[in-house]
Point group: C3
């Protein structure tokens, strides 16, 4: 992963001022950059650093006029910050997808089929009849159960565990330790106080462009042919619990340690903050927003509502009530005071009434 300054300038549609054959392998801040690295200058208060930087190249605004001599090469562009962001994203893609080839020992069933540019890390496991698309990265210690199907450009970080029969789309990223397709939590109480396991025979379906954090768990659906569904564009953080038969609508974002109980359907473009708990068998409208640690016990019908509390209510109402909650001892005192006064007054009144 090394580019010449000329190649980078061409990618950005910029103009080189200086030596365009220098090699760049990394991005850095202008004050920290070293040889072989590229930085940018956008905010004038950082201009001082451009005269001393060791960066091999600096991206600057088209009309930049150096006030001292420069040792670094310049790339002139319209908007240095957004050009740098483009490079960041390209760099990120490159490092995300740089792993290639087969490390040994790793395990792939004879009946599995895999696409081009597969990375199969050491100690990874690909089960029977698994189908994997192109440019998929299977890091070390990943487990892919039998009959799973995975689309193109998907990255499975170390130790992702995928139970048999899961379906995962294109351009997904799943972080380390996450479990997809474990049994839903279903047990039927028996007369003697024990529980009988309800077989969990469905699967998990994850659409395209889904990102899932680390050590999250998504359970499979209960019935044959049913799926726990994560729609396209959903972003899940770390340590989240998604129970059996849940459906998360497209582009919904869920922060760390939230938990969604069985059979609940969350709408599209919802935002669920950290440590939220949602009861089972509910329907949440599109664009519902739930504040951190809230507990949702009822369906939400109106779109775009903001909720907080336990059980959750409208966020403004919660804060109004909580403001009074904080003064409850004072309220209690005032109430007691009133009762005393009213007692006295009633006594006085009684007196005045019985006045001759």
């Amino acid at each position: 992963m090394e580019f010449s300054i000329g190649q980078i300038a061409a990618m950005l549609g910029g103009e080189v001022q200086g030596n365009d054959s220098g090699k760049i392998s990394m991005l850095a801040k202008i004050q920290d950059a070293k040889t072989g690295q590229i930085a940018f200058l956008s905010n004038p208060k950082y201009e001082q650093y451009i005269y001393t930087t060791q960066a091999s190249a600096v991206i600057v605004k088209k009309d930049f006029q150096p006030r001292k001599e420069l040792t670094t090469t310049l790339i002139l562009v319209e908007d240095p910050y957004s050009s740098f962001t483009v490079l960041l994203e390209e760099y990120h893609k490159l490092i995300s997808f740089q792993k290639n080839g087969i490390e040994q020992p790793s395990f792939q069933s004879d009946t599995a089929t895999v696409g081009n540019q597969l990375y199969r890390g050491a100690f990874s496991y690909i089960g029977n009849r698994v189908k994997i698309g192109n440019n998929v990265k299977v890091y070390p210690h990943v487990f892919i159960g039998d009959d799973t199907v995975i689309g193109d450009n998907t990255i499975l970080h170390p130790n992702v565990k995928i139970y048999a029969g899961t379906r995962i789309g294109n351009n997904c990223v799943i972080h380390a330790g996450t479990v997809i397709g474990s049994d839903g939590f279903g047990f039927a109480p028996q007369g003697d106080g024990t529980y009988k396991t309800i077989p969990q025979l469905g699967n998990v379906l994850i659409e395209d462009n889904v990102t899932i954090g680390a050590n999250t768990v998504i359970d499979c659906a209960t019935l044959f042919g049913d799926s726990t569904i994560i729609r396209s564009g959903v972003k899940l953080d770390n340590l989240i619990q998604i129970a059996h038969n849940v459906e998360i609508g497209k582009n919904t974002v869920i922060a760390a340690q939230a938990g969604i109980s069985g059979s609940t359907k969350v709408g599209d473009n919802a935002m669920i903050a950290g440590q939220v708990g949602i009861a089972g068998h509910l329907i949440l409208a599109n664009r519902t927003q739930i504040g951190a640690q809230a507990g949702i016990s009822k369906s939400v019908k109106e779109e775009g509502q903001q909720l907080l509390g336990y059980p959750a209510i409208d966020i403004k109402d919660y804060f109004r009530s909580y403001a009074v909650f904080k003064r409850l001892p004072e309220l209690n005192d005032r109430l007691r005071e009133l009762e005393k006064k009213l007692g006295t007054l009633a006594a006085t009144e009684l007196n005045s009434d019985t006045r001759p």
Copy 2:
């Protein structure tokens, strides 16, 4: 895993109407079923599907009278739904225990002893002096530390991690990524603000028929010879924290993301909902029921109590108080109104008293 229709009918004590030699390899809903699959018809409103289904067989009630021609084979039974449930459970058992044999590379210490019908998945690890019963399934990436003992018919899903010295009974199921026997969280504060680690030298004891979800953690006990104990029939969901020296009574059910602090003893047949937190060194009576997200700060002496809130109180009391909480701003206004009125009244009274 393929059975003839005749074999299935015999298993259910049912009678075949049609070709009993057709092969069945899967169960399905009547509206979705394909050749090689078996479905059931119980609710009359689904009757229409039996005339068009591609299922190779359909389980129906003994007295079922088709109103049109049928292409599928019938199995006549007393109760089609419960017969189908029997098949589901048999099927589930079959797929749960279908894995057999040794996949390579996998690691088993020379000093470990294992029973019959072991499945030892690729990259699994069985440490020194480990003892494993019959028909145990050790999926890929499972780690079993030294001196661990595991009973018969227990399934360890991919990547379960068992620290040295753990004891696990018969018929247990532990899902992917769960950790058993990690160090309890014990540190002694030192004069200089640092902490010294208190050695955690006990183990974890899991009795029979226990099911544990994915990415849950159970810490070992602190002292030599002591155990963190999970009694028989307990069902734990995903992402649960069980601290050192905890004991969970038999047939207790705990939902996802709940956490139980050190040395607390939970009684038998308790039900603990998701995201509940329980403080340390408490005793909870049998059949205690705790609502989602509640925080338990005191022991519960009376059996069968239902608790909610933070700290938790009787669930009915919590809801009564919360109903008023939601109207606190209004209460505050009414209180202010009363104060104003009473002020006016007292002033009036004063006037009337001083009237000549």
Copy 3:
């Protein structure tokens, strides 16, 4: 790991009474101890056991005078309990660091460099250019990403996952299933309702003497050159979420299932209880103490504050308000009663005022 009684006495600076050549391989309680084990007697109410114990040796107070015949060997010391604690700690260190050598198959890049006394468990993975100090224990299924640096005497329990570029100090312990350096949860909303991934290019820096529980997650920082930082002496429990760019001050202790949002800085010697949630971009003063399940939504400026509630307030204020919360239905009734009385009174007053 077997010592003679004489060696142990020398380690404790104690005096042997009896056979000093007996072999000890384990510690136990005096009532449970067997041959080859050592126990202690400190509390006089356990004295009875010393006359029947099978322990090969018992540590007793210097001035201990047996009242019956003894079959066990004595080690006389100043303080038997603290001597036993010393042995516990030594024993714990021994078993923690007893693993040595290379188990196969395991994976180590040609460009990695490792110190002396490395334990490299089966199926562990050490990536490119990784640098590992002396006496480091890498258990089975551990993944160490490229360019990671690890100090001396650090233990990585089974299945710890370390993303590329992480730095870990000396004397750290990380428990099974924990993930270090996964992507921060950063997404930029787009006009069409989808989200674009913000590249996460920083790393995680863990200083010395840090202990981290099982299945915890620590995300990497967002920007090049930035780190999510865990300062020396920090103790983290299981299933904790530490988001990108967080900094945890030295000797801070965090209990299980707590979550800290992005860019928040927690001071030194803070104590954070289980299931606490802390919002992003906050600063918490040194020695802040946060009660279980609290939600922190604002920075804490004053050192040593104790907080509880949701959002959290001073813990004493929370309990005072909660005491009234539990009686809210009664308060509501009293308020209604007052309103009624005052209505009657005002009516009476009106009457008395209009009296001729």
